[in-house]
């Protein structure tokens, strides 16, 4: 039932409503609202019950294994949530004077330092509000760099075909044309094609490494050389940083700029779609262009450290601001707390154990007869299984497996991404899931494979145990219904 179908004219959550407010106003009537906004009219209990029951219709990390590839659905420490909710943090106004900001500023500063260390870069700005905005900031810096050198001919960004959709979309938002380069059967970029693609028009390349194919791009150094030689810069899409934390650093691989998804690698909750945080890190060349605000500190003569905001006054060549305030400040804080909890060794172990789990899971799947898309490669933190054979022989698709998994109590892996692998499932167990969950998932896949062979209708009709059966997406788009219209009784 929709919340709008729940209420009763004039009902409300009385305890939340200001008392004794005069309805007079000194405002001329032409400014005033005359219509009524049809918001819900329900009690506090009805509100709590409605949304509590809605929540129960979701899968989530707190309730299920959720091995969504490229999304790093790992445990979100409750301690980070609790610390970030301390009153001093929750009540701080973004424009509070620095005398009332030292606590928050110090967290920002410390996280900047940690991320520099983790990435091997020279500078970090935490202001981008998600991965895609981090990409935007990164590509805008590439543009600012070329513009700064009066190199206005560079109009293209190269993107491997396996790239996440945000990469080409971002390049366009920055005013670039996109040139795709193919990926070879072994998952690495087609270097020859890349060499042919670069030129004086190349502003840069956007890459993910490990790529969204779940493999490590082995030719990264040649790629870097190729692009750099052509005068372009290298952008690293750090959504998959989880795989290599502490093992290899983008800066050392030759990247000039990157973004990270703190809501993945740094374990902040995904919130059913956000918020995230997508800090950018840059090498020396791009330092002047970092987006503001950032935090910096001074040491006084007496040795006390004080923090302040860096804005365009201090950084005149900055690409500027991406949000009115300080990005997703609270997510930044949670990510900082995660780093504090893990520390040096803990961060290293993330890379190691997420890789271990993925390789173990891939091996189990492969031993069970599933086809790995890149069998001869190491898995990174994720791996791809392709269901082409099942699709061809049994007429059962990757999506059918995905939906049936829900009935077994597992969230589906990422389906049909990357687009270049047919009928693919991109599976990422993460380091926080136990061996028991991993094995349970594989067992479910084996059971579903049996069903696919003996009673494929079970898969076609799946899911059976969820609040709804399979939904009609075509109808949704054709008969667009995106806001409830009250039916007059």
């Amino acid at each position: 039932m929709l919340i709008f179908e729940n209420g009763s004219k004039g009902r409300n959550a009385t305890s939340q409503i200001p008392q004794n407010v005069s309805e007079d106003t000194n405002l001329p009537s032409e400014f005033l609202r005359t219509s009524i906004a049809d918001l819900p009219e329900v009690s506090e209990l009805q509100t709590v019950r409605h949304f509590t029951n809605l929540s129960r219709k979701n899968f989530s990390i707190d309730t299920q294994f959720y091995p969504l590839g490229s999304c790093t659905m790992k445990y979100n420490p409750r301690g980070a949530q609790q610390a970030a909710s301390l009153p001093g943090f929750l009540s701080r106004h973004p424009f509070a004077p620095e005398s009332y900001s030292q606590g928050y500023l110090s967290c920002v500063y410390d996280l900047q330092q940690t991320l520099k260390e983790v990435t091997g870069m020279a500078g970090v700005s935490l202001s981008p509000m998600a991965g895609a905005q981090g990409e935007f900031a990164g590509v805008a810096m590439i543009k600012a760099y070329h513009d700064g050198r009066k190199d206005f001919e560079r109009t293209e960004i190269i993107v491997p075909e396996a790239a996440h959709g945000t990469n080409p979309a971002t390049a366009v938002m920055c005013g670039y044309k996109v040139k795709e380069v193919p990926v070879r059967a072994d998952g690495d970029v087609d270097l020859e094609a890349l060499k042919a693609a670069v030129g004086p028009q190349t502003a840069g390349i956007m890459m993910t490494n490990p790529s969204t194919c779940g493999v490590f791009e082995r030719q990264i150094e040649e790629i870097a050389k190729t692009v750099h030689d052509a005068g372009g810069l290298l952008y690293y899409d750090g959504a998959n940083l989880n795989a290599i934390l502490g093992k290899v650093r983008p800066g050392d691989m030759g990247f000039d700029v990157l973004h990270m998804n703190l809501h993945k690698t740094f374990a902040t909750p995904h919130g059913g779609g956000g918020p995230g945080s997508g800090p950018v890190a840059v090498g020396e060349r791009l330092l002047p262009y970092l987006p503001t605000p950032m935090a910096d500190c001074k040491k006084s003569e007496s040795g006390t450290v004080s923090y302040h905001w860096v804005d365009e006054k201090e950084l005149p060549e900055t690409i500027g601001r991406l949000s009115a305030f300080m990005g997703n400040a609270g997510i930044v804080l949670r990510a900082y707390i995660y780093a504090v909890l893990l520390g040096r060794d803990g961060l290293l172990r993330v890379g190691e154990n997420s890789t271990l789990s993925a390789n173990y899971m891939a091996k189990l799947m492969s031993d069970a007869g599933f086809k790995l898309a890149y069998e001869d490669r190491r898995a990174t933190h994720e791996f791809i299984v392709t269901m082409s054979k099942q699709a061809k022989e049994l007429d059962v698709t990757a999506m059918d497996f995905a939906k049936r998994l829900l009935d077994y109590g597992y969230h589906a892996p990422t389906t049909y991404f990357p687009l270049l692998v047919p009928e693919c499932l991109l599976i990422e167990p993460t380091e926080t899931e136990s061996i028991d969950e991993i094995e349970g998932f594989v067992k479910a896949m084996i059971a579903i494979q049996k069903e696919a062979e003996t009673s494929p209708e079970k898969l076609k009709g799946a899911p059976f145990t969820q609040p709804v059966r399979r939904l009609d997406d075509v109808k949704a788009a054709r008969e667009l219904d995106v806001a409830y219209q009250k039916v007059m009784e």
């Binding site: 409300n12 939340q16 918001l39 509070a96 959709g165 956000g274």
Partner: protein, 458 residues
């Protein structure tokens, strides 16, 4: 190993199955010389107890002041039920609802959110949120440029009374695509758009006009006239609005003869804590005919294969994960949890409650204005037509006064001198429903004392 469940035995078992000797072997595709060195610059990890001690000390440093700063982020009472509900694990730790059948909770909630935002703005369609108000405005500008069939212009007209940081963000984002922004000048007397100046822009081709209600100074604009003017001159009209104010003020859908085309704004007043600036969320609503240019996710209602009602992502062909370089925006992760909280907030308050909060804020603001009248060194610069924010001019340096007030535990407002030097020593002050009369008196006292001390210092 914090948060990693693997025991030594588990690790050994996994290595055996994989057929390698050590975890390090799994990284053997990475060239040896690229392997990272120990990250010595990062401190050792702390357990939760030790972490809480450190963070509590830091939070303490920023705590305890009485805040009269607004400037786009507003302190309202947040009902306890808002976050106790939004923080349920199933909302908090779910991903974007790609598997609709396992995400009906989030999907229905967003559908309800979309409905509420349409009601609030008086428009037909809402998306599922963008990052914040400022970046949302940038997206709205790009959307208007794509959508305006009458104009091929890549120029947009922005009112000078729109939040200066919004204008900066818009510029910093859209200029990458060669879009230019012109500014409608400010009437420094009335602190709103200079209507006299409109005619000078009529000869040029603009794709869109951006106006704010209330504007950055809290002043109400004559949005009816402006909307008609913009639309008459071929522009799509984008209204930047405070959703809380919309309970009291005419919503964008009702501006002028035909209503504004797009409404955008900061969702923070709807149940989100100040929290240093985020996570908040940007909302965008538009007329039905613009829906295919909408950036970000949209949820639609449909049926399942048994005909049962359900909800799903729709019009995905606008989005980057399908359309890649041809998408309406690069946005992927949005502000889902903030939207969840706002939806609970709006449900609790209802229209009547929202109106009462707006009215109470407005009345408190008027009360402070009246208390400031006649204080030496203070001039009220705002006209009477403000919402819950107003401008005062001081007889000395604003940032010093702010510092002196802060020492008394009062955060006096937003310093306008950096952004509007032409206004002189001006301070933007905000009052909402959370302030009591004695809070207002504390403000007055702190200001008076600061002005005196400032005078002594000179």
């Amino acid at each position: 190993m914090p948060f990693i469940p693997h025991t030594d035995q588990d690790v050994q078992k996994m290595l055996d199955v994989i057929g390698v000797d050590s975890i390090d072997d799994l990284f053997d595709e990475i060239p040896e010389h690229l392997r990272a060195k120990p990250m010595d610059g990062i401190p050792e990890g702390l357990n939760e107890m030790a972490m809480m001690r450190v963070l509590s000390e830091r939070a303490q440093q920023d705590d305890g002041a009485l805040c009269f700063i607004g400037a786009g982020a507003y302190e309202h009472h947040i009902p306890a039920a808002v976050w106790s509900t939004a923080m349920r694990g199933e909302f908090l730790t779910a991903y974007t609802p790609y598997q609709a059948e396992a995400s009906q909770g989030t999907l229905q909630l967003i559908y309800e959110y979309q409905t509420m935002m349409c009601q609030i703005t008086g428009l037909d369609v809402s998306n599922a949120s963008l990052y914040d108000g400022a970046s949302g405005l940038a997206e709205a500008v790009l959307m208007a440029i794509r959508a305006n069939r009458k104009s091929k212009s890549k120029k947009v007209l922005l009112a000078g009374s729109v939040h200066p940081l919004y204008r900066k963000v818009v510029n910093d984002i859209v200029s990458n695509q060669g879009i230019t922004l012109d500014t409608l000048p400010l009437n420094t007397q009335d602190l709103c758009i200079e209507h006299e100046a409109l005619s000078q822009f009529e000869s040029q081709d603009y794709a869109a006009l951006v106006i704010a209600q209330p504007n950055f100074f809290g002043t109400l604009e004559d949005v009816n006239t402006l909307t008609n003017w913009g639309q008459n001159h071929g522009m799509l009209v984008i209204g930047v609005v405070n959703p809380m104010a919309m309970a009291m003020l005419a919503p964008p859908g009702e501006w002028g003869d035909n209503g504004a085309d797009i409404a955008v704004g900061e969702g923070q007043p709807l149940g989100l804590p100040l929290a240093s600036g985020g996570p908040y969320f940007g909302f965008v609503c538009c007329k039905q005919k613009l829906v295919r240019q909408m950036p970000g996710r949209i949820i639609g209602r449909t049926v399942d294969l048994e005909g049962k009602e359900g909800f799903t992502l729709t019009l995905q062909a606008r989005e980057q994960h399908i359309r890649r370089s041809k998408a309406t925006s690069n946005i992927c992760t949005n502000q889902g949890l903030a939207v969840t909280a706002a939806t609970v907030y709006l449900t609790l308050l209802g229209f009547n409650g929202l109106l009462k909060v707006a009215q109470a804020s407005h009345h408190n603001t008027n009360l402070l204005v009246s208390k400031l009248q006649g204080i030496s060194g203070v001039t009220i610069r705002s006209p009477k037509t403000v919402f819950h924010e107003f401008v005062i001019e001081l007889d000395r340096n604003v940032s010093e006064v702010i510092e002196l007030m802060a020492e008394q535990g009062v955060l006096g407002g937003f310093d306008l001198t950096d952004y509007y030097a032409e206004l002189g020593n001006c301070l933007l002050v905000c009052v909402t429903e959370v302030k009591t009369e004695s809070d207002l008196d504390l403000f007055v006292d702190a200001l008076k004392r600061a002005l005196q001390e400032g005078a002594v210092k000179c």
